[in-house]
Symmetry: C2
Subunit: 330 residues, 2 copies
Amino acid sequence: MKVCIIGSSGHYGYALPEILHNPELELVAVAPGTAGEDMSGLASLLQKKKQQFRTYTSYKELLEREKPGLAVVNTHFHNNASVVKQALRQGVHVFSEKPLALELADLDEIEQLWQEGQSHLTTMLGLRYAPHFYTARQLCSQGAIGRVRLLQGQKSYRLGQRPGYYKDRKTYGGTIPWVGIHAIDWIHWFSQARFLSVLAGHSRQDNRGLDQLEMTAQAFFTLEQEILATVSLDYCRPETAPSHGDDRLRVVGTDGVLDIREGEVFLINSGSDGSQPEGLLDPPDFFADFYAQIKGEGQCSISAQEAIYITRISLLARQSADENRQISLV
Amino acid sequence: MKVCIIGSSGHYGYALPEILHNPELELVAVAPGTAGEDMSGLASLLQKKKQQFRTYTSYKELLEREKPGLAVVNTHFHNNASVVKQALRQGVHVFSEKPLALELADLDEIEQLWQEGQSHLTTMLGLRYAPHFYTARQLCSQGAIGRVRLLQGQKSYRLGQRPGYYKDRKTYGGTIPWVGIHAIDWIHWFSQARFLSVLAGHSRQDNRGLDQLEMTAQAFFTLEQEILATVSLDYCRPETAPSHGDDRLRVVGTDGVLDIREGEVFLINSGSDGSQPEGLLDPPDFFADFYAQIKGEGQCSISAQEAIYITRISLLARQSADENRQISLV
């Protein structure tokens, strides 16, 4: 299958190992998804790997001429939706950066194009394939904590240096859809429940000159079966912290508690007192899973329906924060 | 000063060491605050300590006859407000269990009586005097994390065996005012900001026969200066857990993060990478602080205004959960 990479401003690293090592996959070309997007990092990485590929300045021309079967999309945030739509229109399978879209109208179009076509589609909620989250999810689905009742998700990042397009809501999209989407995904993934309502908040105070970027955000969700969930997001992690991010998820069930933090999983239930971390499983490869699904031989963890659903919830949570009001999600 | 203890269903243990060891304080009498309240545990404890005291069956009679200067109030939850009101009416200083009241009308009366009188009043938000919370608060007020921007509080308890009055909202009050009030207090205490709004939720599902008791609850608060805060509460901590409760508070500031968990304080800022817990300070005695305040020689951490304010916010958070709507707190 012919593969292309459009943009190189996101997590193309999820796809690259499998593309380079699976002989069924042929990387034919790359193109920026945004005018002026810096593609040099990806290009030099591919050259180092002795990978042949063509370079286009226009992704539309790339899609037209190369007719790839699969596109990896990760350009500047505000252009991912346009690239995804174009790829879907041409019947290309899409492995896209999250969020799929920064505006609901774009997401609606993506949903319609996906429904009308035959393309497979997923979005890079790749933390589902990180060993600690993958292991915790396996434990949860095996009943280790009984029925899920309450969840608390956290993403905390170092601010570090951010490209200029983080400064503008139109090009960044907001901290809830860019960062919070992972925690929102965990909530749905662990609970297997639909969201009923959200109230969120966010603040741009003390954002060190990053203009419209929200430094802090929180959201409170109600879900089916009276499941409750909170999300807490910040870019306030000090530079001295031992890691870039401090991802956490606490999942409370009728028969136990799962605590995911610092790359480990702690379980308290009738068989475990939580004093030692659980042994971590070795997750499958995200992109290989998606390719297997395309071939009809497997199932990617993040279905197209879920990719669209989680993006939608994230955009509505952002709207709730913008408008300071509870929003129904049904 | 003559001291009495009314009820023995709560945290009279906060007061007892100082009462027994400070020669200025004379424990004159005890009485139940609720008809039929079991006072035997307190009585046998006092007898073991060779403490002389009179026993009344009516706290009103006790207050009338003994004319104590100070009352420790901790009866069944729904009667604390009545006892507090009666004590305030008679000009007695009050060291009361939390929440001060289960209904806003009672709280309003308490506020008015306190304003009209000369009594000192506080409520047993005693975790302010626990070494880990006390130490973290000192660090915060010394500027260790800059300006507070975001907070996440957690209380998680084992359900264990609960007296019958936990089963009825009228006598229990709800998990948000009984358990959540601590986390709500931490938010105010660390941020020193007023609450603007709350949306909360709670659920009675899977409460193992405890009828109206809420097993899970969460709340999302906005505060002044765009400070955001969440609270997560549950009674789902397994019996196998290494401790009764899993109290946590994460305070995120412009210059660092304070993480309070498992009785320790972890600080990440320019001078600390958070890998080792901070040394814990030795807090003053809560009741001794309150008595010093009465004598005009000190300041109890929880002022009467704060005791009333935090109780009010807790009752409004419960109302928000009952009505599933955001409530203004200004």
